[in-house]
Amino acid sequence: MENTEKIYKFSDYVAKIKSELKKDVVGQQDIIDNVIIAIIAGGNVLLEGVPGVGKTRLVRSLGQVLSLPFSRIQFTPDLMPSDVTGTNVVEKDDNGKLNTVFRRGPIFANLVLADEINRATPKTQSAMLEVMQEHKVTIANKTYKLAEPFFVLATENPIEQDGTYPLPEAQMDRFMFKLVMKFPEVQELMDIVNMTQITMDETANAVIDGNTILEMRALASGVPVLDDVLLYATNLVANTHPERETAVSSAKKYVKYGASPRAAQALITSAKVRALINGNYNVSYEDIDALARPVLRHRIKINYNAVNEHLTVDDVIGLLIKETRRSK
């Protein structure tokens, strides 16, 4: 298929994905949009949500729609890194010979749901996050590459805090987005109930495959970004740092520490995908603004002033956006 045709089909594919996912996931449209963006952009998503809002279902449906193998890892405090990555086991072959065979862990899938990642020990977390970063597993000096596209959707349960190991900021930075899955609205809940009365299985159909995702990823990388828009995105990230002399007042007042350069990369990469999804061939300020919260909310830490004023991190990001816009 010609590139042009592929580009034209880009938004069609996404529309189809959304349409199929709707069959299995009620509401959560923003989450779905951003998850799709993250997948196409090649990023991972940290999803925060109470149990039962459809996190697993989403990833499972996504796997079906994208024709990608899906696996779910339930993180518990006793989960070992090898439980995630896999390990070498000794097996007797048919001849009775003992051989060391690498048994792949659940990480060897295209779409992985790392459920309640904050329940795992830091060691297991770091093993998981390393794989997310490297897209490969090294066991006994042997490297096993993971299939592309590789997407991890990790979840955090905001309710259970006892016995949890919150991800360190450095690790959080590896997630492109942090998305917050809210409790569905009443109508949405009604739809969920109605839908699941019929069947609990995912009914979404496959619309594209992994290669198409990769193609879409490649296409998206070619979306032009205006220097002013790039400057805006980088300024936005830079303005999250209160220690800078030129930091905006909101950052100085409400932010404890700001986002890393990965945030700027994530902003631009995801903005390109978003632009194409929306049928635009260039990144705009609107794309940046729309993705600022998912990209930054897990990368900045608000201080006591914000808490005191009942400001959430999203509120602070909103102020940062405003001030960065004004100074544009």
Binding site: V223, P224, D228, V283, S284
Partner: protein, 530 residues
Amino acid sequence: MDFFKKLRREVNRDALIKSLAYSFAFAVFFVGLSILFVKRLENALKIGYLIFIGVFATGLIFATLYFLLKKTEKKLARALDEKYALNEKVQTMVAFQNEEGTIVQLQREDAEQRLQYLPRRGNVVKRFWMNALAVSLGIGMLITGIAVPKKESAPIVIQPPQIQEATFKLSDYQRNKINALILSIETESALKSPAKEQTVAEIKKLIADLETVTLEKTMKEKVIDCIVAVDGYVDAVNTYKKICVELDNSANETVRIPAVAMIQLDPVTLVKVMNERLATSLTTKEEIAAFFTETYVRMENLVKPKDVVAPTMLLSASSNEGVSGEEEIEDSSNSDSKEPQENPLLQDSLYVAVKKLAEQLGKISASEENFTEEGLAKEIEKVLLSACGNIDENDNVILSGYLADALEEQKENLRVRIAVIDELTSAFRIDKSELPLLACDVIPSVGGLRGGEDGDGTGGSGGGGTIYAGSDKIFDPIYADGHVEYGKVLENDEYKEKYAPIWEGEGLSDELKAMLQEYSQKLLDGTQKA
């Protein structure tokens, strides 16, 4: 990007038109305003400055507006994106216009397509109504400036400085001083009538006038008028000038000698000139007779200017001795004996004295005695002694004669006149330089050079150290010894040639001529030591 570029051209063309329109509107407005200012304000800037300011401002406005309104590709792209919420499509298109790539190409096409769907830019009226309004305002101001009439400024009247005129009030001191002067003139002075009465009357009139005068300027005028009048009266009664001029007009040189002797009213000069010149000039009876005749005729001319016939001398026996005294002389040649007696000059002592002198000398010539040269000289000497008196070696008058007495009378008149002038100028603080040329000060020149006459070389009256200029010498290489007596300088042909045409021409006023005559006379006669 063709559509975008076309759009940009249109936008920039509009920018140019708008800039021109606004700057034109400003220029016209400014011209109108300037005209209004120049017409209505007195201290408005000069038109040259206004023109400079207007042109400069118009140029600045045009350049500024065009700079602001004209759009670069980037500016226009940004403006379009913002105005039409194109999500940076146009800006991206412009920024990546030279990039290759599928998406970039698609982006360009997408942006161009969006531009084409933009609403039309509006018709001319919509686009330029503001400019039209601005131009209208400018034209309106121009018309106003032209139509408003010029403010008529009040004529500049330069008021002369108000000179506070000095006031005057006759003081008691002044009044007393003048009254004392009047009294002095009336009782003590020998001022001759009618000059005396006239002088007193004039001064009394002055006092009366000054009682009502309030300005100093008026006071001065009146005082000077009084002085001039008094001077006139004195000059009228002093006949010496008239007599001297008449004698000086004679062709007979000896007749002119008494004029020279009398003109200064000085008894010493009288004695010296008469003895040294007249006595030595009359050496024969014929000469004496001629002197007598001419002098008598001249005197008669003064009282009867028409043809005068030479008298037939009918001398009485008592007059043969030549004793001084007034004697009546019958003049049988004149049948109109009553007319001359009405002339006041006939009663004038100087006139009478001059006539007597002539008659006494005439008697000598009429005598039948044959005088020797010495004898004749002695006779003449007697007559002159009787007329002029005598002086000693120190120029002191030791004996006065009737002619000298007559001169003294007239000199006394002048003294009174001087006293009046001194008193009046002193009392009223008038500088003498403010006085006009007075009649008495005009001394006619007598004894001057005649055309064709050889000067007798007696430029000065001699007399040792008392006469200046006459015998003093100055350097003049024309003369043999390199020096010439001061008074003889004018006899030099070179000066004669130079001043004669000027004198006879129209270039000199009578006043100036009189002054020059007097001056040259002094050069010839010298001046007396003060």
